[in-house]
């Protein structure tokens, strides 16, 4: 069997076995649905509560996308700024690190006090997603081939030409790797903030639905919402991977199949 088929077939097989065990455990131990719903009930709930969950998913995805966009612009923008102005880098980089290492779960409740809820959730998504873009792009901008830099210097390239024609294209693979991490993280940031806001009782995102269902002991809906969140995360990852592949496929080793 070819490797391609195995790569698709094996995870599906694992999924099937997992679902079967899940189902059997419920049958054998006679677990009631409000403790652990069977896969069938989760699916039924997903369909029954479809429009509610779908609207919540759109809210969460909207925030995620906005947070990701701001993180991309901010991360790449600051990386370029740091690369061009050393003193700004020395002044601000430590605070970017602090922003990254402080657990977002602990920051979210504070942000919710000072910002309107939508902005607070957005800020959380941004804070978590911003740093990997910044760190990776900075690494890329600083790893330009020294001989190519010499070549640009020899031909008296302006600062702008060096940035646009050399540093940015050269940093593209690292930049895209940063963005790929940021996509998943902005979803996590949005979910964390929604959960934190959920106790305040105002929200309509998917994470809020999970918290709400928890209070109401609606376990099947919790599972259904969780399933949707994972699928959203997977979709984000694959979309960003595909974009990265399209941009790099002509030249970067990471996007080219090795010939043997």
């Amino acid at each position: 069997m070819s490797e391609r088929i195995l790569r698709i077939a094996l995870p599906i097989l694992v999924l099937a076995i997992g679902l079967l065990i899940w189902y059997l455990v419920i049958q054998i131990f006679a677990i009631p649905p409000f403790v652990l719903p069977s896969p069938g009930i989760v699916l039924a709930t997903l369909i029954a509560d479809g429009s509610l969950l779908w609207n919540s998913l759109l809210v969460t995805l909207g925030i995620t996308f906005e947070g990701f966009l701001l993180a991309a612009v901010g991360g790449i923008g600051f990386a370029i700024l740091f690369n061009q102005l050393r003193l700004v880098e020395y002044s601000l980089y430590p605070y970017a690190v602090i922003l990254q290492v402080t657990p977002i779960v602990a920051v979210a409740p504070l942000l919710l006090i000072y910002l309107p809820q939508h902005l607070a959730v957005l800020a959380c998504a941004w804070i978590v997603a911003f740093f990997p873009v910044l760190a990776n792009t900075t690494l890329g901008l600083n790893s330009v081939d020294h001989n190519l830099l010499s070549l640009f210097e020899l031909y008296k390239a302006s600062r702008w030409q060096v940035l646009w024609n050399l540093k940015l294209p050269s940093a593209l693979p690292q930049m895209l790797a940063g963005l790929r991490i940021a996509g998943g993280l902005s979803l996590i940031g949005a979910v964390v903030a929604e959960i934190a806001a959920g106790s305040a009782g105002a929200g309509s995102g998917l994470a809020y639905r999970i918290a709400e269902s928890g209070y109401r002991l609606n376990i099947p809906r919790m599972f259904a919402a969780l399933l949707l969140l994972s699928l959203a995360g997977v979709a984000i990852f694959f979309t960003l991977s595909a974009i990265s592949h399209l941009l790099l496929r002509r030249w970067h080793e990471s996007a080219i199949a090795r010939e043997r």
Partner: protein
């Protein structure tokens, strides 16, 4: 444009000490004459690459002077590695110096095509560097250096990483280009055989610190070809240069 034989750049008592205290060059005297093919020959670490970078203005001399009697003309530089932009195809790589100078598209395109034809890569304009062999990458690098029609072509051990068959081929092609364009070439190498085959003049350097030990003229007529490579005359020159290099090594305080 200066007349043939006239000095286009001279280095007088040039010294170079790096930040970490390494003395790369000390009292280095060297003249480049218009239209000649001159090689800097020495073991690795003798400062020959540093000398080349100082001529190109990529590195500043710590002592001495670099003089351009008729002003600094256009320079082409070929590095030890092909130094191509992996995200750009061959044509875009060759066009780079013109793009940076803001040349217009039509004339750039023509000059790129001409430069690629000269190195035998006319059919590979659309290829990406990773699709090329080592020799073809180096040809691209040479085409890029030639595209601005430089007065002075500086080459830093350009063929050191290539296999012998490819190197011989590129040696021949380089000589053909040099004879056709009548540019000045300063060629850095650690190969006695390569320097004798290519050059009119060889400057043998001592290591640590880099200094001129002796200059040797290779008075063999061009065109030089495979017949020259296997001639007793060539072997004689090689012996002479190798002996000089041996004495230079002994004169320097290298291990």
């Amino acid at each position: 444009m200066s007349t043939p034989g006239q000095t286009i750049v001279s280095l007088r008592h040039v010294g170079k000490t790096f930040d970490r205290g390494t003395v790369a060059l000390d009292g280095f005297d060297f003249e480049v004459r218009n239209g000649e093919f001159v090689s800097l020959l020495g073991p690795s670490g003798c400062g020959k690459s540093t000398a080349l970078r100082i001529i190109a203005g990529l590195s500043a001399a710590s002592a001495g002077a670099v003089e351009w009697p008729n002003g600094m003309g256009r320079i082409g530089f070929v590095f030890q590695e092909p130094t191509l932009m992996p995200w750009a195809n061959v044509a875009a790589n060759v066009q780079l110096p013109l793009t940076l100078a803001g040349a217009d598209m039509t004339s750039s395109h023509m000059r790129v095509t001409q430069s690629l034809e000269r190195v035998g890569l006319a059919n590979f304009a659309e290829a990406f560097p990773r699709e090329l062999s080592g020799g073809m990458k180096m040809r691209t690098s040479i085409a890029r250096a030639l595209v601005t029609e430089p007065q002075l072509l500086l080459m830093d051990e350009p063929f050191a990483a290539l296999d012998e068959i490819t190197r011989f081929k590129l040696n021949n092609d380089l000589l053909a280009v040099w004879r056709e364009l009548r540019r000045t070439v300063v060629f850095v190498t650690h190969s006695v055989f390569e320097s004798v085959y290519l050059s009119q003049r060889i400057v043998v350097m001592t290591p640590r610190p880099g200094r001129v030990f002796k200059e040797l003229a290779i008075d063999a007529p061009y065109p030089r070809d495979e017949r020259f490579r296997t001639s007793p005359e060539y072997a004689g020159f090689c012996r002479q240069v190798a002996e000089t290099l041996g004495k230079a090594m002994a004169a320097g305080d290298a291990p």
